[in-house]
Symmetry: C2
Subunit: 320 residues, 2 copies
């Protein structure tokens, strides 16, 4: 259990040590202090302190490809070994080529086909184990580290500070809910029941005396763009008071959260640091940030400048 | 905050006072005591103490029609006043006739059409307010009381006892998630984020500077039968250790919960009390209990005999 920020500050402890001093850090601190202060015009009862976070590009990196897609490509390699005919069929052929241009050209339909093929057929429990194994063994090509090392230290501190201040923290991501649930509790302290994401269909089957849920290749729900408020309503059933994202896919979630009465906070992680992480926004294929960036100043959303606002990006930098 | 059952018992306080002494009450108590006792072979860590409850017929009554359907019929009356042509079209004509036989003959398709018509068009916030108003003003035809008076006192005590013992209690019901979320927190102590149910599609619309979620007439998900384990996996992401239901629609949820290693509990509320509530099972149109009843003894599920196991059915009986 962590004490709320005001108590920590009174003890000379900064709950957000990886954030540089400045307007970004100050506005986060001021928001939380208002929310927890009874009698403040910004006070929010504990039950309503719902904070939602996008995952890819907001809590961990998403370059050169979404990490879940890197998992799917590794599984596709394995499936192609067992079934060589796959290597001749599109979109698998392009995906297996390893050519970045071919990968970029797959489009959403190609990506969904590859996700469908590589994620289906397994039971939910088998899939969970596959993701767990992959996260232990796979290495990110640029950093040669496990993908879960590439989470953002300042955002981990923000999650912990919000929870210590009575917030319930949720992930609301375009990523697959079962993929994320394999690691969010260990990595972010967010349990599976607080993960909202895209999903494929599953079916319940009784195999003798063993009940299983089998993953099917059909898409059930895409938790992106206008799908995010829909998913929030369906899974959480309350309107959040804090939302963090990094791309146009978060625009409607930010609107749904902040265009409401009472103290509300919208945050956009702007990838501005090509040295420590990556720099991209309006023209990126992955995590394009264009319309939401235009809207940010009009709506009073905090745009976090990764290069200048973050003292540390990844946890491993602290240990060096 | 309520103390766990062992502590209450030590103080001479029975946490389940509306349950008659006997094997049903004993088996519930023994299960909970094993789950919370560190070192017991039945111990379950707090994070995994997930308990799921069906709603209609398990936590409140469901006769002569599902209460949500009573709400839909009242709304249909209002809509027919504004649009008299509805009264000439099926299935609305049969539904508006008030004839029990005509209502019974509507079938699932008719019911879904009526639910679709009466629940769509509103925003989620408007719908929530409509349900709230209806629950305040509508009266159950047999008891002439608000529908929320017809909750089962012994099940309220069971919910509270489980929560006091570290369980997270969820509703997993065929009922509409937005209909239930209008009252589950006040009536059962179950917040909206712990309500899993059937749902219609919604769409996010930005109306000037007012973001709204509008309810559409299409069905999105039916949380019944094999849909219950699917919904549990999607919304909770963990396998429950305790499940309570009352009909064949709960059979797969009971299987998914209990056919697993470790201490598990399956409970079926058997409606055996025509005097205080209703008596029905294998031949009922509402809440048919047939296959799950046959399976109960084989799987070790507790079949609660409402007439003999419950000292009190409804909370208002205590006050008389
Ligand atoms: Ca993102
Ligand atoms: Ca039921």
């Amino acid at each position: 259990v962590v004490a709320p920020p005001a108590e920590l500050l009174a003890q000379g402890i900064d709950p957000l040590p990886s954030w540089n001093e400045g307007p970004a850090k100050q506005s986060i601190r001021a928001f939380i202090e208002g929310v927890v202060q009874e009698g403040s015009p910004n006070f929010i009862p504990v039950d309503e302190r719902i904070a939602v976070f996008d995952n890819d590009g907001t809590l961990w990196s998403e370059q050169p490809v979404y990490f879940q897609f890197a998992f799917a490509l590794d599984r596709l390699q394995d499936l192609a070994k067992a079934n060589p005919a796959l290597a001749g069929q599109e979109p698998y052929k392009s995906a297996l080529s390893g050519d970045p241009k071919a990968l970029a050209a797959l489009g959403e339909k190609g990506l969904l086909q590859i996700i469908g093929l590589t994620h289906a057929g397994l039971t939910v429990a088998e899939f969970n184990a596959e993701v767990g194994d992959w996260l232990k063994t796979a290495r990110h090509p640029r950093f040669d580290r496990p993908y879960t090392d590439l989470v953002f230290q300042p955002m981990l501190e923000l999650l912990a500070t919000l929870r210590a201040s009575g917030f319930k923290t949720y992930i609301v991501s375009g990523g697959g809910v079962e993929f994320m649930s394999a690691f969010t509790e260990a990595v972010y302290g967010i349990p599976p029941e607080q993960v909202v994401g895209s999903s494929g269909k599953t079916e319940f089957v009784l195999d003798g005396d063993t009940p299983v849920l089998r993953k099917l290749p059909e898409v059930e729900f895409i938790d992106d763009g206008p799908g995010k408020p829909v998913g929030i309503n369906r899974f959480i059933g309350r309107r959040p008071v804090f939302a963090a994202g990094n791309s146009d896919g978060d625009q409607q979630m930010l609107q749904w959260t902040t265009m409401n009465n009472g103290a509300r906070f919208g945050l956009i992680v702007h990838h501005t640091d090509a040295v420590r992480e990556w720099a991209y926004d309006r023209d990126s294929k992955v995590g394009r940030l264009d319309k939401a960036l235009d809207e940010a100043s009009r709506r009073g959303w905090l745009v976090v400048d990764m290069k200048n606002d973050w003292k540390v990006v990844y946890p491993f930098e602290k240990k060096q």
